[in-house]
């Protein structure tokens, strides 16, 4: 290609001049756009660091909670991880099953339409999931929470008294699961569809049932893809703001999932940022920086698994 793009300049072909200028401008613009993306990402990190710096140099007593930044950020990091963990525990098995249904169980003609339906789930804005979780789902879950507190209250995560409004971290986790599900399902579906057809047909020809065929020919092939799909879902669940901000009535870190309490980084920023100023502002930006680093790590691991998986897969 490069031979074609750089024709040897010859004397006397003056009419090529304007075209060459166009070539230079255009390739320069394309390169500039690429550079801009690199610059923007570094700017994101840099501006967050600059604005967050006062937090790290401030006296521990001035930070919210009065014990320094580490003890301020620790409970909301744990809260973020709890909410994301609940979401993944629910969404991973269901998401994989939905992907299997669309790729291997649904009738051929329906599969495409069902894929769109799952994509619709992903298209609904997060604020609407939040509103649904806060008004509809939380009210529905009051009774089950009461039951859990009465019967399984000896397990710390179900310790009572149950929330009277249903606005707990478990509800927030369920709403997050609904939002993460389409991501896991659509990525896993792509992987399942790539599984080598010859292996599947061979398994069926040897007399395997459909489940045995999937277990032997599809799942081993898709393992890396499933892990990375779950990691990408985790990245989304960690950073999701509105669902938690609307659904959870927040409080200090507690073990029980069915009492009001706990808080996530993203929701804390969304709730407090509009009224924040001075040191509080840079505290919240520092919290955002921590969130950025956590999701960056999760996403990079996920991409690394995907790229490793690509080398080994028989597809392409």
């Amino acid at each position: 290609m490069s031979i074609i793009t750089k024709p040897a300049p010859k004397a006397g072909t003056r009419q090529a001049g304007p075209g060459r200028a166009g070539d230079k401008v255009f390739s320069g613009a394309a390169l500039g756009a690429g550079v801009l993306i690199v610059v923007v990402l570094f700017a994101v990190a840099m501006f967050l660091v600059i604005q967050a710096l006062p937090t790290f140099s401030a006296a521990p007593g001035d930070i919210t909670g009065g014990k320094g930044f580490a003890s301020y950020i620790f409970p909301i990091v744990v809260g973020t991880l709890i909410a994301a963990a609940i979401a993944l525990v629910i969404a991973t098995p269901i998401g994989i099953a939905v992907a299997l249904f669309i790729s291997h169980y649904a009738p051929r003609g329906m599969a495409r339409g069902l894929g769109y339906v799952v994509d619709l789930l992903a298209a609904i804005p997060s604020v609407i999931y939040g509103a649904w979780g806060a008004t509809f789902l939380a009210a529905q879950l009051k009774v089950p929470y009461q039951w859990l507190a009465d019967n399984l209250g000896w397990i710390p995560i179900f310790g009572g008294p149950a929330s009277g409004t249903g606005k707990t971290i478990l509800t927030a986790g369920i709403v997050l699961a609904v939002m993460v599900l389409p991501i896991i399902a659509s990525l896993a579906r792509e992987i399942f569809l790539q599984a080598p057809m010859l292996h599947q047909e061979a398994a069926l020809a040897l007399g395997a049932t459909r489940w045995e065929m999937i277990r032997m020919a599809v799942l081993p092939f898709a393992r890396g893809g499933i892990i990375s799909a779950v990691m990408l879902g985790l990245g989304r669940a960690l950073g999701e703001t509105m669902a938690v901000a609307l659904v959870l009535s927040s409080g200090p870190l507690i073990a029980s999932l069915i009492r009001s309490g706990n808080q996530t980084i993203a929701a804390e920023i969304a709730l407090d940022f509009p009224e924040a100023f001075g040191l509080r502002l840079s505290e919240l930006i520092a919290a955002g920086l921590v969130l950025f680093l956590i999701t960056l790590l999760v996403n990079m691991v996920a991409r690394w698994i995907i790229s490793r998986h690509k080398e080994f897969s028989g597809a392409n």
Partner: protein, 368 residues
């Protein structure tokens, strides 16, 4: 006649198989038994459906385990679980859409909802409308205008940058190191939490324009951070499937590379690029968190993205639910919030549908 039939049934090939009518029988009896059980503990249609499905699955698996053996029974069990999981996954979708429709339609049909703003609508106005049973006042005109303007500016920023980057990646980079860096960073950008994108824009403009700068344009910058990677990814995929023969034919005719890209490559891929951009718009128009920290809240119409706070549909929904206009009578605020939610869902669905239509009508002919 009857003798050969029974002998065929006992042949080695068909032995140990359930007759084909088994599922129908199991389904029928499951529905009847479920109805009987529900009658004992109090009937409701939802519980009846769930119980029937569970009984049907259990009956199928049990009959298969008795007659056909363990392997077939496990297969049927997994089939039931997979189908059940899909139905469970549909529940929230149906529930969300139903909730939004039921709560949103009255507000959306209220006169003046689409044409007025919240300017002058105070708690006293809402209290009066509840006390006198008069229609709820106030509307979303300012929020719709804000959403459209902010998304428009985000698109104006993101599409050229995203498209040019994808052109660089596909046409110019020849897979060098820098292109690998860009691809990696675009992947990383896809995973940036939306609130962090908002914080970035707020921090950037806070440093440049003075602290507390909140305008529609700051929000548009925040949304572009989320939108650019989506545009790059989809355009890159589309440019990649443009056949190389087209480029080579253009080069053979002595056409410059930039003209080849503008006149041959992009027109071939334009449908996919357009649908990718539409999907990206659908994604960012529903973003709430970045707008909360960059655009502020406004109750009056503001059509200038460079000055003053600006409302948008998602933040309108959020504020109406979290801080009702009248704390003692939250119902009018809830009605407005759900109506705005319905409007937002309709908008997003239309954009999604539009993207699919664009992609299907002008699908690029790849020769495969």
């Amino acid at each position: 006649m009857a003798v050969p039939m029974t002998e065929r049934k006992r042949s080695a090939l068909t032995r140990g198989r359930l007759p084909t009518y088994t599922p129908h029988v199991v389904a029928g009896s499951a529905i009847v038994v479920a109805a009987a059980l529900m009658a004992l503990i109090g009937f409701n249609a939802f519980g009846w459906g769930v119980l029937s499905a569970v009984l049907f699955a259990a009956g199928n698996v049990a009959s298969s385990a008795i007659v056909e053996g363990r392997r077939k029974a496990v297969d049927k069990l997994v089939t039931s679980v997979v189908v059940g999981a899909f139905l469970v996954a549909l529940l929230p979708l149906v529930s969300v859409i139903w909730t939004v429709l039921v709560n949103g339609v009255p507000g959306l049909l209220a006169p003046g909802f689409l044409g007025t703003s919240m300017n002058g609508v105070t708690g006293a106005v809402d209290n009066a409308s509840v006390a006198n049973h008069t229609p709820v006042l106030g509307g979303v005109y300012h929020a719709m205008l804000g959403s459209v303007l902010i998304t428009l500016w985000a698109t104006v920023i993101s599409v050229p940058v995203g498209l040019l980057t994808s052109i660089y990646l596909v046409e110019y980079s020849a897979d060098n190191k820098f292109s690998k860096v860009i691809t990696f960073l675009v992947d990383v950008m896809t995973g940036i939490p939306s609130i962090v994108a908002g914080l970035f824009a707020a921090a950037f403009f806070g440093l440049v324009m003075g602290p507390g700068t909140k305008t529609g344009f700051v929000a548009a910058v925040a949304l572009s951070v989320l939108m650019i990677p989506v545009v790059v990814r989809s355009s890159e995929e589309m440019l990649k499937i443009v056949p190389n023969e087209l480029r080579e034919a253009a080069y053979a005719l002595g056409v410059r590379k930039w003209r080849t890209i503008l006149k041959v490559v992009i027109p071939t891929a334009i449908s996919g690029i357009a649908s990718g951009v539409t999907l990206a718009i659908a994604r960012v128009i529903g973003e709430t968190a970045p707008l909360l920290v960059t655009a502020g809240f406004a109750s009056q119409i503001n059509s200038n993205v460079f000055a003053g706070w600006m409302a948008s549909l998602p933040t309108f929904i959020y504020t109406q639910i979290m801080t009702p206009t009248s704390p003692s009578n939250p119902d009018p605020s809830a009605q407005r919030a759900w109506a705005a939610a319905l409007l937002l869902i309709l908008l997003v669905m239309l954009l999604n549908l539009g993207a699919r239509l664009v992609a299907r009508i002008f699908a690029p002919k790849t020769g495969r």
